[in-house]
């Protein structure tokens, strides 16, 4: 019975994984990213509208990514260039995203899904689920094995190091937040393509849950995706109807788990040193 939960866990963990990797990119660069939720929502929205118009999932994916990226640029423009309060700006962007959905409310028609790949034994999943492991690896290599990653981490950890190299902190922060918009947008696209339907509450706090996964995973890609699997598992528990548990309790289980995880009851974590600091 637990085995039957595995496919659902993978499916639920995929969008969280994308958003969490995005969260890592921006938080490692020193920008606290509460706006993951809004970026996912915008990504999902862009996917829906363009996929409905063109009947092509790939164009949908591209537009979804662009939407997430656009919102990320808004966030980075405000927080990096104008040095606004990062958390408040993030919440504002979430409100903005929700508002634009309500304003431009797309029709609730069926949306084309991304192609699924059928493999023996493993089963069939969306193509974005298969690219996930590759993405984790890429993220890990970029962060820890390349000069880019080094600079990105320096932007969030020791601004002095960047200064001594006479590198612009702002540029690397823009880079990090931009990446997070792209990844979170992909997460949003996956959510729509998975159920072939767009609703206003489709993200349902997954952006925040992903952020909790980032903290739980200690800002490391591999650990964070493992945390996402845990949250995905908690999210798929609603498949179990045998136990006489109220529906609402099962639905809020990921949220409760998030709070437990954030309380550090599962282990202490260490955030990037310059996270949330807005000086250059």
């Amino acid at each position: 019975m637990i085995l039957s939960l595995i496919p659902s866990t993978l499916r639920k963990a995929t969008p969280l994984g994308y958003a969490a990797l995005g969260g890592i990119c921006s938080e490692r660069a020193g920008v606290a990213n509460i706006a993951l939720e809004g970026m996912m929502l915008m990504g999902a929205f862009g996917y829906t509208v363009s996929a409905q118009a063109t009947e092509s999932a790939w164009i949908g994916l591209g537009v979804g990514i662009a939407c997430g990226f656009g919102l990320a640029m808004l966030l980075s423009g405000a927080t990096i260039t104008f040095q606004s309060e990062q958390i408040v700006t993030g919440v504002a962007i979430n409100i903005l995203a929700l508002g634009s959905i309500e304003y431009l409310l797309p029709t609730s028609e069926r949306v084309v899904g991304l192609p699924e790949l059928k493999l023996p034994i493993i089963g069939h999943y969306s193509i974005l689920t298969y690219t996930m492991p590759m993405l984790i690896l890429m993220c890990h290599i970029m962060l820890y094995k390349t000069a880019w990653g080094l600079r990105l981490r320096a932007a969030g950890n020791s601004t002095e190091a960047l200064k001594t190299l006479s590198l612009s902190r702002k540029r690397w922060q823009y880079f990090g937040v931009g990446l997070s918009g792209i990844l979170a947008g992909m997460g949003g696209c996956f959510l729509v393509s998975d159920v072939n339907l767009f609703t206003k509450g489709i993200i349902g706090g997954r952006g925040y849950v992903a952020l909790a996964a980032v903290i739980f995973g200690n800002w490391r890609p591999i650990n964070c995706v493992l945390a996402c699997l845990l949250f995905g598992f908690a999210d798929s528990l609603d498949l179990i109807h045998q136990w006489n548990i109220p529906d609402q309790l099962i639905k809020s289980f990921p949220y409760i788990l998030t709070m437990i995880v954030l309380a550090g009851l599962v282990g202490k974590t260490r955030p990037p040193a310059a996270l949330g600091k807005s000086e250059n």
């Binding site: 509460i34 808004l74 405000a78 927080t79 104008f82 040095q83 606004s84 309060e85 958390i87 408040v88 700006t89 919440v91 504002a92 962007i93 979430n94 409100i95 903005l96 995203a97 929700l98 508002g99 634009s100 959905i101 309500e102 304003y103 431009l104 409310l105 349902g204 706090g205 925040y208 952020l211 909790a212 109220p246 529906d247 609402q248 309790l249 639905k251 809020s252 949220y255 409760i256 998030t258 709070m259 954030l262 309380a263 550090g264 009851l265 807005s278 000086e279």
Partner: protein
């Protein structure tokens, strides 16, 4: 001469922020006046941009912004009665705005007003349904119980922050989801009104209801929805102001918000202050739910709030976290909430436009703040 009045304050401002010796004629009071000027300039600019934005969107849709502005003015100020309706729509926002502002003063960001007001509203409804006493006892009882439950719901994230260092923002959001699920469960499975399709509880006793002001004040029609919870809101604004400015606890709260370490060396326990501030913030946010249950609907309706907790953030920022500023800002958003309905019906403009505008408004506010204040350092 007039020019010097405008230029002069900004010159001192530069001096203060660059940590240079301020010329002896410029006292510290002048720094305060500059801040006070900015406190007015920032919100006004933001509101102006907000209305301009709405106008531009309407132009893009091919509609006349003029009709839109006219509808807003007409719907808000054409008669005393209309204005009373604006006050009715502003009431819940005053509470949530105050709650967010109070937390901001202590350096905390309470996005959990939505959850806190649901829990408090349900508590108020429960007491109102199950206890039958004369009004003079029952109404305070309901209010206190609701505030207590809101306070508990607010204190949990505060406690988690102090004990485990968990950021209150994510926790309050999670508590929102949990509160929604919890009240939904209670309404659906336990306290649902029999034989009703809508997810709501039974009506509360007549003695637990707030007086409609229209029945007392001659200027307002009897059908007007404005009720006594508005008076409660005014009381709250004044009390919060006195509390922040003149009480010892208010001083501790502001000190923790401005300089947590100084507070600690001064013998204040920042952890304790954080917990009770979150509790107080939750209690005030809870009153927002009380005003809905006891003043308007007289029952608990599942997911009744139209994002008051989130509008509270905008209201607090726009009011510069000052109780009187919050009051003024919630009047504006009360008007917008009232107008949103009219505009959706008459001009066919979706409510989302205002929500987008609100998000934009916050971003502009914090950007101006960051750009003017932080950059100069």
């Amino acid at each position: 001469m007039y020019l010097s009045i405008y230029v002069f304050p900004f010159l001192t401002y530069e001096y203060v922020l660059n940590n240079q010796p301020v010329p002896s004629v410029h006292t510290r009071n002048q720094f305060h006046t500059i801040q006070q000027i900015l406190n007015v300039v920032f919100p006004l600019t933001a509101v102006l941009v907000f209305f301009l934005f709405c106008g531009i969107v309407l132009l893009l849709r091919g509609e006349s912004p003029y009709a839109f502005y006219l509808t807003i003015l007409k719907s808000g100020f054409s008669s005393f009665d209309e204005f009373a309706s604006v006050l009715f729509y502003a009431t819940p926002l005053i509470f949530t705005g105050l709650a967010v502002a109070l937390a901001f003063k202590a350096g905390l960001f309470n996005i959990g007003c939505e959850g806190q007001l649901y829990i408090a509203a349900f508590t108020a409804a429960w007491f109102g349904i199950h206890i039958n006493l004369p009004s003079i006892v029952l109404i305070p009882l309901c209010i206190v119980a609701a505030m207590l439950s809101g306070a508990i719901w607010g204190a949990i994230p505060g406690l988690l922050k102090v004990k485990f260092g968990a950021h209150e923002v994510i926790n309050t959001i999670m508590m929102n989801f949990i509160a929604l699920a919890l009240t939904n469960f209670l309404v659906v499975s336990v306290f649902r009104e029999p034989g009703q399709m809508t997810l709501q509880t039974e009506a509360i006793h007549k003695t637990a209801r707030f007086q409609r002001l229209g029945e007392v004040i001659p200027f307002i029609k009897e059908s007007n929805l404005l009720d006594a919870s508005f008076l409660l809101a005014i009381l709250c604004v004044i009390l919060t102001h006195l509390f922040l400015k003149y009480s010892r606890w208010g001083y501790e709260l502001r000190l923790v918000g401005n300089a947590s370490e100084v507070a600690a060396y001064g013998g204040i326990k920042p952890g304790r202050v954080i917990v009770w501030t979150m509790a107080l913030s939750g209690a005030i946010a809870g009153l927002s739910g009380v005003s809905d249950v006891m003043g308007y609907r007289h029952r608990f309706l599942d997911s009744f709030s139209s994002g008051w907790g989130f509008t509270g953030i905008v209201v607090a920022l726009l009011g510069r976290n000052h109780p009187f500023g919050v009051f003024a800002a919630s009047l504006l958003f009360g008007l917008l909430n009232k107008v949103a309905l009219d505009i959706e019906l008459e001009l066919g403009i979706p409510r989302g436009l205002f929500l987008v505008g609100q998000g934009l408004l916050i971003i502009i506010m914090v950007c101006m703040e960051g750009f003017v204040i932080k950059r100069k350092r």
